[in-house]
């Protein structure tokens, strides 16, 4: 079961629309499990702007580096500083304390084009 209130991507990121209109992004449980022990998270600078499908950073386990993509046009408002010292939090709490960045989307309605929970579960089942 994946959380119901989030949007998802084919690259296994999740996005959550917050009450203030900003959007939080992280990686899914499937992604953290596939990576194994996360030892480093490369986060973007606050204020950086990205176009849809750009890599905004990377998450690394001992064995591999994996790009983290942003599926929509967005600007970075905040990064999760906790990940710099405790990257393993991504394994422990990927939908909570292990979030990556808080974003301002160019168009919040772009979220509607992403997988909802049911579609992402179906995508995982097909993979």
């Amino acid at each position: 079961m994946v959380p119901q209130n989030l949007r998802y991507t084919r690259e296994h990121e999740w996005l959550r629309l917050e009450a203030d209109g900003t959007v939080t992004l992280g990686i899914t449980d499937h992604a953290q499990d596939a990576l194994g022990d996360v030892v480093y998270v490369d986060l973007p600078d606050v204020g950086a702007s990205f176009s849809a499908n750009d890599a905004l950073g990377a998450v690394e386990s001992v064995k591999a580096a994996s790009d983290v993509f942003v599926p929509v046009d967005a600007e970075v408002l905040e990064v999760n500083e906790l990940l710099k010292d405790e990257p393993a939090i991504v394994n422990e709490d990927c939908y909570g304390k292990g979030w990556f960045v808080r974003l301002k989307l160019a168009r919040v309605e772009d979220l509607n084009a992403l997988f909802d929970a049911a579609a992402y579960e179906a995508f995982l089942a097909d993979a």
Partner: protein
């Protein structure tokens, strides 16, 4: 995808599998960091049955084999093994090998799984005075590595292990199974590689686990890679290949230019005489970013001057470490390097390998 005889056992242990040169092998069981720590502090057990084994036999076996490898096989005695490279005429590396001498007319070559067919073809062309046979499907291979290895293994064999020195081997029974017991490994710690009949492998695995009183952890390819990298042991396809020579890779110690003719000798002697243009160095990142295979080493203007061949976060030191080819003259210990990691350029410092100290080592023959 090819499976080793341990596949079902790995599945039952909850392994995550990865495609490694056409073999489905466990990349990890519980986690790379934990498995790595087990080998550095107690012991770990690896399934390395994918490794290839080639047998060379006949009265001319020694001279035939010695003419195709860089190390000097003429100094080996029965029951001794050596690490060597095998080169093309231009000095590029066909493969790196461990060669076991059973007798002057009988040698066993352990080669990389992904190179086994290529090695067999190459050796078939070069060796005309001895018989060559691919016996890879006869041997399951286990690597028992870590300070507790001798204690664990001795419970299962009558063969006195204190008599088997580093890069030596004996034939014996392990848990009632006929085995080549070799004091070798790819982790830097003391340990053994056990060659047993393919179908008997799982019996030996289970006996070792049971004999270990919980001191032995299953370990996967992920930990095998971080352990070897902390030692600066080369991995074919990453750090060495047909475009690199043993001299450039820091394997001069297994390249005996003063022995009789061998394939690649002239090119390697010429390269040495002319001076190397690049060298494989060990480096530690100054910050947390992790270098990876293929990343560029750049100069002050951002131009590529070399490349990273292997990199990881060292589970032992928690530093980001790597190996890279850099231009001659920029390879000294203490030299700063610039590594391009995605959009940024990060600094690193060349160090003297190994990256970490081991807590054990195979006993050396006096």
């Amino acid at each position: 995808m090819k499976q080793t005889p341990f596949y079902a056992l790995h599945q039952s242990l909850g392994a995550k599998f990865v495609d490694f040169g056409g073999w489905s092998l466990p990349v990890q069981f519980t986690g790379i960091a934990a498995e790595h720590a087990a080998v550095r502090s107690r012991a770990g057990l690896f399934d390395v049955s994918h490794m290839g084994e080639l047998e060379v036999r006949g009265p001319q076996a020694l001279s035939a084999l010695d003419a195709v490898v860089t190390n000097d096989l003429s100094v080996l005695v029965d029951g001794q093994a050596c690490y060597t490279a095998m080169c093309y005429p231009d000095g590029g590396i066909v493969d790196d090998l461990v060669i076991y001498r059973f007798a002057q007319d009988h040698f066993l070559i352990c080669c990389n799984a992904s190179n086994c067919a290529k090695d067999f073809d190459w050796l078939s062309e070069q060796i005309t005075t001895a018989s060559l046979q691919n016996v890879s499907d006869q041997y399951a291979q286990l690597a028992l590595q870590g300070i507790e290895s001798p204690k664990i293994l001795q419970k299962l064999t009558q063969t006195p292990l204190e008599g088997i020195y580093s890069y030596h081997f004996a034939l014996g029974q392990v848990a009632g199974v006929q085995a080549i017991i070799s004091r070798t490994g790819y982790t830097g710690e003391d340990g053994f590689e056990l060659y047993v009949p393919w179908d008997e492998g799982p019996r030996v695995w289970e006996a070792l686990m049971e004999a270990s009183d919980g001191q032995l952890s299953p370990a996967g390819l992920g930990a095998r890679d971080t352990l070897r990298l902390e030692m600066k042991f080369a991995l074919y396809g990453n750090d060495i290949d047909a475009t690199t020579t043993p001299l450039e890779a820091g394997l001069g110690w297994i390249t005996k230019l003063n022995k009789k003719a061998f394939i690649g000798k002239e090119a390697l002697a010429a390269q040495k005489a002319a001076g190397l243009k690049r060298r494989l160095v060990a480096f530690v990142m100054d910050g947390p970013a992790i270098p990876r295979h293929g990343y560029e080493i750049v100069d002050a203007d951002g131009q590529a001057v070399g490349h990273v061949t292997s990199g990881t976060r060292s589970p032992s030191s928690n530093k980001s470490i790597g190996l890279a080819y850099v231009p001659e003259g920029q390879h000294a210990v203490g030299q700063k390097l610039n590594v391009r990691i995605r959009q940024r350029v990060e600094t690193a410092t060349i160090v003297k390998p190994p990256f970490v100290k081991t807590i054990s080592s195979a006993p050396k023959k006096a």
